[in-house]
Symmetry: C2
Subunit: 221 residues, 2 copies
């Protein structure tokens, strides 16, 4: 039975003005940096890449043996993941879903999440919230309280699921903002797996600077 990752790279990069996954850093597009981590992860058997239609030709030139399928993404992230789920091979056991714009994931974290998902059915990578969190009104920006952060974690990706669980969750869902939230609603126990503060999603030029700095030095140690 196989462990498959769906790498979602269909975003339009609204905040950056261009699709961030395709910006070149330290000699290759960010998306390739992301793919290369899954390529070298022993527990990943197959990679399904979801990109916008106008990026399919470029994606086809990526030279990674584990890429088994390049799928065209939909309007929203949820459509991209859905399209990826449709092409899973029949002998898939575990599905990891990962943001194309998170190149600083490590093989260790991926493997920990797969191990947890095999056991419990679902696992999400994340890190504890370390900032003081305030509750603020939306109109006046008045602080109404300080939130107890001791139980709060920031979710990252990959989010990893047994295939039957995530496909069922998507069948039931209409609107998806977070894959794990769907699975939580089904009553499936979801485990948090410790990620890293470096595993950022590139959404702003500042994020890009951070990642450039690290990748220029050869990536995460």
């Amino acid at each position: 039975m196989k462990n498959v990752v769906i790498i979602s790279a269909g975003g339009q990069g609204k905040r950056m003005g261009r699709p961030k996954q395709f910006i070149e850093v330290a000699g290759k597009p960010i998306l390739e940096w992301t793919i290369s981590v899954f390529q070298k992860c022993d527990m990943i058997d197959e990679i399904i890449l979801v990109v916008n239609e106008d990026r399919v030709d470029q994606a086809k030139k990526f030279n990674y043996s584990k890429i088994v399928n390049i799928v065209v993404g939909g309007e929203a992230r949820q459509d991209s993941v859905r399209n990826g789920l449709k092409v899973l091979s029949a002998d898939t056991e575990i599905v990891a879903i990962h943001d194309g714009a998170r190149p600083m994931i490590t093989t260790d974290i991926i493997e920990n999440a797969i191990v947890e998902a095999k056991e419990s059915g679902a696992a999400v990578v994340g890190v504890p919230v370390c900032d003081t969190i305030k509750r603020v009104t939306s109109n006046e920006l008045r602080v109404t309280g300080t939130v107890d952060r001791s139980a709060l974690w920031r979710a990252q990706t990959p989010q990893v699921f047994r295939k039957d669980i995530i496909t069922k969750a998507y069948q039931q869902a209409e609107k998806v903002t977070d894959d794990s939230a769907l699975v939580e609603k089904m009553g499936v126990p979801v485990k948090m797996v410790i990620g890293s503060y470096q595993n950022i999603k590139i959404t702003t030029p500042f994020d890009l600077e951070i990642v450039e700095r690290i990748l220029d030095k050869g990536g995460i140690k």
Copy 2:
């Protein structure tokens, strides 16, 4: 009446293994980068610097005209701020409290926070939470839900107060983890002021890398 900033730089740098404020980046200690922003901020009249005893001599050599006092910090952050509050000049109207390890603050943000604090009595700089936030059990790391993040902000510094408010808050408090939380408890309206995602507190080697990258290029634009 004066606007004064207390820059708290008494930390021991437990997570970095050395006091992070004194690590040199792009030619000067991080603390000096922080001081220099307040020095060039037109709305700041005086700087009170709180450092550990063994850093007083080094701090005395800092050459910024607005530094009026160098105070020895206490065991915890709260003691450092308390020691700073003790030496405020009588004609102080506004007190900003800022982390020495947050060099990427800008004069604009400081000024916005001072303006708000003059009006409402208290203002905290922060940014909206943009990650998916999960509630997680502490023992099993089981996800118990997805938190509505729409009203949640990450507090940064400066936190800015009218002098009478913050001194009263400290008189009443025994243990302080967050200055603003004290003031909130007093029923004073606290305003959130939009900071920036760049305004990070340096606590890990990764944070240091990020800040090095920006300061090497001459700082925040």
